[in-house]
Symmetry: D2
Subunit: 357 residues, 4 copies
């Protein structure tokens, strides 16, 4: 094995930041060289500053000294960002200007036409936007974003169907896990034996990001796919795993069997396969009437697989189904790590030779 490439994690003490650290600790290609967090953590050891809640942590990383989130303090040229949206706006731009590739989990740049919004199995071709981004913005580095955690579930379920049958209309009701709100996040008094039928900004993200993810890329940037999407977002008392109940209308009118076959065969874009964070099965189609279930299925493929079930006819549109995936792994940190792995393979990462992975 060749030497691992140094990377940094920004916002490393928060919930998504800790998941980044857990996934990158002992990663075969990347080595966490630096961790960044807010001023009150700077200078403390990572273990102490983070109040670590993710299982075991290697001493190598636990003893890293937390740095400020700016390119003066953090020198890695590959940077994973778990910053919140407000902080991300400036900080990620600074890193991109200074030549770093930022793999961002924040929403700040997702909908910019020259910023790739990428799920590696779905639309790795959108990484071509990096060139436009650099040209337009004069950056020597760049920003690549992953999708919102709930959109990730919907987009992965619909991507192979859109390719084959053309998705025109989507009703998506999401039942989203507590960990999606970070830590401390949701109050236990709001979550106990309760549903909160509202997550600020989430429905808009589902409705907007889906079109970009399933759309095409041209010289002007990303062009959205034309499907119309109606979303209902709910917070449910589940620790990990976002569930989406989907009713879907297609341009052609596939049978339920055709839809099931496409979902069963889907393996994701070839470039996304066989990487350290790729799951053995991108999508697992369950035959049981009562699956997927988040507590039992969210860890499928180490949290990187999409699990689908209940594919059946829809009385109004064409097909109904249920899709579920792990929101902090597949839908957040794991998605960004896989984005980085694909970029390395494609020669889009500093210090990584094309095709070496």
């Amino acid at each position: 094995m060749t030497a691992r490439v140094s990377v940094a994690v920004l916002g490393a003490t928060g919930a998504v930041g800790q998941t980044f650290v857990r996934l990158l600790d002992r990663h075969p290609y990347f080595r966490i060289a630096e961790v960044g967090a807010s001023p009150r953590s700077v200078g403390r050891s990572y273990r102490e500053a983070a109040t670590w809640r993710e299982g075991e942590l290697s001493d190598e990383i636990g003893e890293l000294q937390v740095r400020a989130c700016d390119p003066g303090a953090i020198r890695s040229r590959i940077v994973f960002s778990a910053l919140d949206a407000e902080a991300a706006l400036d900080v990620e731009r600074c890193f991109a200007e200074s030549g770093a590739i930022v793999l961002s989990n924040a929403k700040s740049y997702r909908m910019e036409p020259d910023v790739p919004l990428v799920i590696p199995e779905v639309n790795p071709g959108h990484l071509a936007l990096l060139e436009l981004q650099r040209e337009r913005r004069g950056w020597s580095g760049g920003i690549v974003t992953n999708a919102n955690c709930a959109v990730t579930v919907v987009a992965m379920a619909l991507a192979p169907l859109h390719e084959r049958f053309g998705v025109s209309t989507v009703f998506a009701t999401t039942l989203q896990a507590l960990s999606g709100a970070g830590y401390p996040g949701v109050s236990a008094l709001d979550a106990s034996s309760n549903i909160v039928p509202h997550i600020g900004g989430e429905e808009e993200k589902i409705e907007e990001e889906l079109g970009k993810l399933l759309g095409t890329v041209g010289s002007d940037g990303a062009a959205h796919a034309g499907m119309v999407v109606s979303a209902h977002a709910n917070r449910v008392p589940v620790v990990h795993g976002h569930t989406a109940c989907l009713s879907v209308g297609f341009e052609t009118e596939p049978s339920v069997e055709e839809v099931r076959a496409v979902l069963a065969e889907w393996r994701g874009a070839e470039v996304s396969r066989g990487l350290p964070t790729s799951p053995p099965d991108v999508s697992v189609l369950r035959a049981e009437a009562d699956r997927p279930q988040p507590r039992r299925d969210a860890d499928t493929g180490s949290g990187m697989s999409l699990v689908i079930g209940r594919v059946r006819p829809d009385p109004v549109l064409d097909v109904r189904l249920v899709a579920m995936a792990h929101n902090t792994v597949r839908g957040a940190a794991g998605g960004s790590v896989l984005n980085a792995e694909v970029m390395g393979r494609l020669g889009l990462l500093p210090d990584v030779e094309e095709g070496s992975w």
Copy 2:
């Protein structure tokens, strides 16, 4: 106050049966004279046979001796049935033949064209089917059914809108409480930090019963309203309160404000108002972004109110909203008790003079 009318509860030891008993204990018009249950309970005291789980129980009822569920053993002419569907088919027929009015919570007769499926605020006029029922079946009594617990939520939310704007299309995703499955019902291992995206037969009930409830009654029986309905039913870890996320298309195209105004003003059919089990407000429209919530709102109006929130435009159809009600009160036993109260007021109950309530 005049003497209370004697009634019986069938299936009195089960979950819905216990809710019937709790609601009828100290009722101003009805007095539980008899309780019926399965053979293994017959002859035991009710308190002992029921393993009572509903708070306080008066000694008068706790000491009733459980009887067999047949018209030989139970002589009340007003009978509330919490029997399961299989048992209900024969038992309810026997009681109706023998002259009793059966207020049933079972699904067995709900979709028969000559059997009233009634939510008192929505379609009390369907009680006219009783005449056709007696004529066709030669019964001296009759069967009146309440709606499925999830349909009740959907139908109450849509009834005033259908009357004004004509509902044509409905997407309904339900998040249904544990108590809807009875006791012991759902295993704690299925419910803990989990979603089960399937409830056997529930989606079909939602899709079928809604049309009957919102339809008209003619000389041939009930005629269904023509809306098309797509339902996703989920079991969620909530004790009481079914939540429904609804996207609705109308024949006319009302504005969101018009929809909100109709929902805010709705008081239910006049004949349903001011009865002992009528809530002060049939429908409560919440302005907060994050309501209704089942744990906090299911007891509104002693569990008989519908609580609505998040009325907003739908990108595909016309309007989206969230509706919630207490599933074992409003959606089961309480619905049947209110049916009986309305029938008494209309002179449709044995031993009760029209207009005396």
Copy 3:
């Protein structure tokens, strides 16, 4: 009915403060004239400032303008305090100096020898300390505290036993509800399918406050009862209701039957009976093997009853039992309201004539 006496609630927007407001809204003797909260709420309407989470709120109170928590802004001479311990130290003293009676839920003054720590059914005689308090401190008003929520459960269960048999040793393991930590309080990620075996400072409070509550009052102040107490405090995923598993050693050696009889007969101090907030039964002894249970039993007596079960021999000490009560009602706001009612009856409240209630 005579005119209601004006009272104020300090810290009215927090979790315990909201419970105070709910219990005092429509109280027959008290009328909330003023509500106090932190500077960021001052000047706003109470409804708006509180983000009300306790069911219905009368407009009369909802429209009160929030005031600053100082005797210049709040003129009521009866003041209920839901302040946190840090704020309470100064603010409660200021009110007591200025002539108000402060009924406090904070721990700040509980262990002072000249401050009554009172559960009305257990030790109303401790109110005599008020005189010593005024003398020593030169206050014209005074401070009366209720007990910690977990201690309340233990002390109520042991009070009648201590009186009869002399409690010498106590092992108490508590399973404490989420609402005991206030709002937002515990993170849903800490509470979901989890136990947190630690609540800061709680074990010390249980061990110390119990002796004072069951002790005597002399000219020098409160003298502690001599029992030795070992406590384990746990946070459990329950909304309301603290459960305590108790093993108890006595000076005499009563039989389990004698213990059961004393618990069954206990009605609390006579002066505490028949007041608006007194429960019909101070203590409810359940015969079932699996009660008390917090979700099913915490509302017994409108949340003011203690519920006891499983009285059985202890292999090491004398007797084991389980006790449970509603922590935010009996163990917090409700306890203080009952303290005030008893004080009014005894002529210890400003503007209330002795014996008028």
Copy 4:
């Protein structure tokens, strides 16, 4: 690697049975050759009969045909039994008579003086009872039992302390997970936001089995250690992981530091180390004030480690602490598998040569 030894699992479709199968699937020494279950499953494939709920299942095992639980149908000479107590009494005896070694999770034979009740790290020497058992009963095989799931937690925490300081008195309050009751087990309506302060027979098991586990073995069989134990058992809404709050009195009077040191150093009996199911650390002593927590810590050491925290002085006895372990792995199936591995190493298993592991 040498050929794996064939084993059978009895009661293989139930909750503990499925955990046995999961732990033995791909085991380096054992190969599941046969699965036994109740008559209604016999003849069906294991996958179909079990309604598998434990993650992935190899096809090799999923396609095994379920057999009847008798030595005529099942020929393996090493048999893991997840039978319930009633069935176990006869079935396990039959297998032992017929020459098989039965590794039992049932309580039926645990307290027999000639039946080893073994936790491998604690009392592997008790396996010597097998000889007495064969002699007395005339069996050619034998029965070896694991401990009750809650006792396992208590006994592992106390074993090293008993060896050094002599445990004389124990107060143990357990907070036991839902999976301990099997599937479907506890009703979700009993578990939601609730505590059930009773588990039938559990307190007696804790009080009795502990003395046998920590006792000695002589020519007459097992002699109990003399400590006195008082237990309170509670069912709590946690999926996996039994927590025990312990107050302990010792014959000598060790300091808290001495107790902590012994717990930190404990590695378990040497014969139990380095086997496939042995955890890297038998006992993990956490320094944080709020650990162990079942949801976060139950999987430590793949569910085989004991996790301890909050070691502190006890006001009545000597020391208090909190101990927690995974109840269906460490406290049930995993414990029996480790028993078998130790027996293999000691030459006590049919077809396995001493010292070959």
